[in-house]
Subunit: 353 residues, 2 copies
């Protein structure tokens, strides 16, 4: 079967199964522990089972989407643009942060070229889905055409669809793209209605002057492009990025195929928010991995009504937070499967049990 | 060699190696990521290596200390007292929360009877170190004698010492003891100087009236016993518990043998605080696993200058939080060992690198 279009994927999204959720909680409440005492682990177990109908995880995959950004020419990042392809090679060689943490979590990293300004040729392991060699500089005009935005989203949908067919039970998102906190901050400002200065931060590590410049660039980009927050594809096209579109599609595709997806940090959440703005029930399939140091991240999470799983002051992206959070979801399922009930273990109940 | 006495263990504690810590950070700063972008993972890696001199973990063990409490007869818990031995059997059978989460983390659970009011006979797997079958009710007088408090602490020290000899690289603490949030709240009130009502909470799930009663019982216990916060053994003896003493000893013994120890939730932190009050450098060996729902926990953590690793609204104890946090320390070490440097990966540096 061909991969679903955006319209087909949107039509396929259903609310998660509340009866299944209640059944899981009923079992958790019979287990040998005070009710609710595993806190958010119980929420993870409940939600995972409600989404998938399964109580374990067979395969975990993290999709690290890479793309370049025309706005990088404005000097908004501490790193030069050639780092995007260099890091793609590093991912493929297994030497980056996401590779190390994914190995710890037992997850596979899949690297997707959504729009890196570099010719990788036939590169083993690389999922080649280049829309174009980088976006245009959104300070001057749209980052991409609406057709390119749609293509980026449908690429992500197709990857989620294929993962579902291959028996993957838990997906994670990740990003690589020099300057990509700039479009992410633009997206945060647009959907929240907050001033750009309140959602823009230092990215990989710029100083005060560069931060003021970054804010001015985003403000100008929003003024020039006038993206319409009622039309999430318009936002993606005008101030987004190819990797952000891929992430939006993957998250949306997961919801369409009843797969839980662990959304990494600031850039991934910007992509996930576009998916959630396209369909409000997408958020039921999302696990927010962690709270990034980037100030705009909290704004995105709030808009999606998500509580992050971890808060370790990370700001690396790539899917590093997703890798860590996956392991906690897996731990929650262990608890669900393996903790004995009061009856099984012959333990007396408390007053509330 | 016989296990160290408390005095010997105290004399053996040294500050952790700051040069080693700086060397680890220097390597982290050469890795292909913005400086500091792995946030607290970098702290975990730095501290683990500084403590142990190793960059990996061979063996992880969680010590779950069990004891009964005379103060349970005051009705301060939602669960009946027989649950303490029932849960010990559950731990030994592998059916409790800590067993499930420790299996996920690849850690072994070791169950220590420090003072359960039950005759276990010769029970395979149980580490039998019963000081007495439960403490006395501290509302009426001291929970234990000073000699018993010392014996409990030295039991924990001996276990840490043996673990060090056996090549365990990371230890965790856990607790089981019906009513043991009551002595823990007493300890929190004493060392913080805060009113009992500010550090006392619902434990396994008592209602408002029972909470008011629990506060009154603790207040009376402190008035009757007048524990001296300048003398941590006096505090342990008068309002503590045998499992809390075992935890204090394990934590102190870890510091004496240069072993990192992951301290679980409220009860474990009460034990760890006694160790830290006995020697201020103990805290350098402690990783605080998580922030418990128990309100007094934050007070204990602050007194020890600890930032918890996780905040998942848990309140189960047993070592469940320690199991989860161990895995994050292990992930941090993966990052340290496996992320390539800029030179190794041929990636361009940023402005600050």
């Amino acid at each position: 079967m061909p991969a679903p279009t955006l319209v087909q994927a949107l039509s396929a999204i259903r609310p998660v199964d509340l009866e299944r959720m209640a059944a899981v909680q009923a079992r958790l409440d019979r287990q040998t522990k005070p009710r609710g005492s595993l806190g958010r682990l119980e929420e993870f177990a409940r939600r995972y089972v409600a989404i998938t109908g399964r109580e374990d995880i067979r395969r975990k995959e993290i999709y690290t989407f890479a793309g370049d950004h025309g706005v990088a020419e404005e000097g908004v990042s501490a790193f030069p643009r050639e780092v995007t392809p260099q890091m793609v090679y590093n991912f493929l060689a297994g030497g980056a942060g996401v590779n190390a943490l994914a190995r710890h979590a037992g997850a596979e990293v899949r690297v997707v070229d959504m729009g890196v300004d570099h010719d990788f040729g036939a590169q083993p392991g690389l999922i080649a889905r280049k829309i174009a060699p980088g976006t245009a500089n959104f300070r001057r005009g749209p980052a991409m055409t609406r057709a390119q935005a749609l293509a980026a989203v449908e690429t992500g949908i197709a990857l989620a669809d294929a993962a579902a067919d291959a028996g993957v039970d838990l997906l994670g998102t990740g990003d690589m793209g020099i300057a990509n906190t700039t479009p992410s901050a633009a997206i945060a400002a647009l959907f929240s209605g907050l001033p750009v200065a309140q959602v823009t931060h230092r990215g990989t590590g710029i100083d005060d002057a560069a931060l003021r410049h970054k804010i001015a660039v985003i403000e100008e980009g929003l003024r020039v492009n006038q993206p319409n927050p009622q039309d999430p594809l318009d936002v993606l096209a005008k101030v987004g990025g190819f990797e952000i579109g891929g992430i939006a599609g993957l998250v949306l595709g997961c919801a369409a195929r009843s797969l839980p997806v662990v959304v990494d940090g600031f850039i991934s959440t910007a992509g996930a928010l576009i998916a959630c703005e396209l369909h409000p029930q997408v958020r039921e399939y999302v696990f927010a991995a962690h709270r990034s140091v980037e100030v705009g991240h909290a704004v995105l999470l709030e808009r999606m009504a998500q509580q992050p799983i971890l808060d370790l002051h990370m700001r690396l992206g790539e899917g590093t937070g997703a890798a860590l959070a996956m392991s906690l979801i897996e731990a929650a399922l262990r608890g669900l499967r393996e903790i004995q009930t009061f009856d099984e273990a012959g333990v007396s109940r408390g007053r509330d049990q």
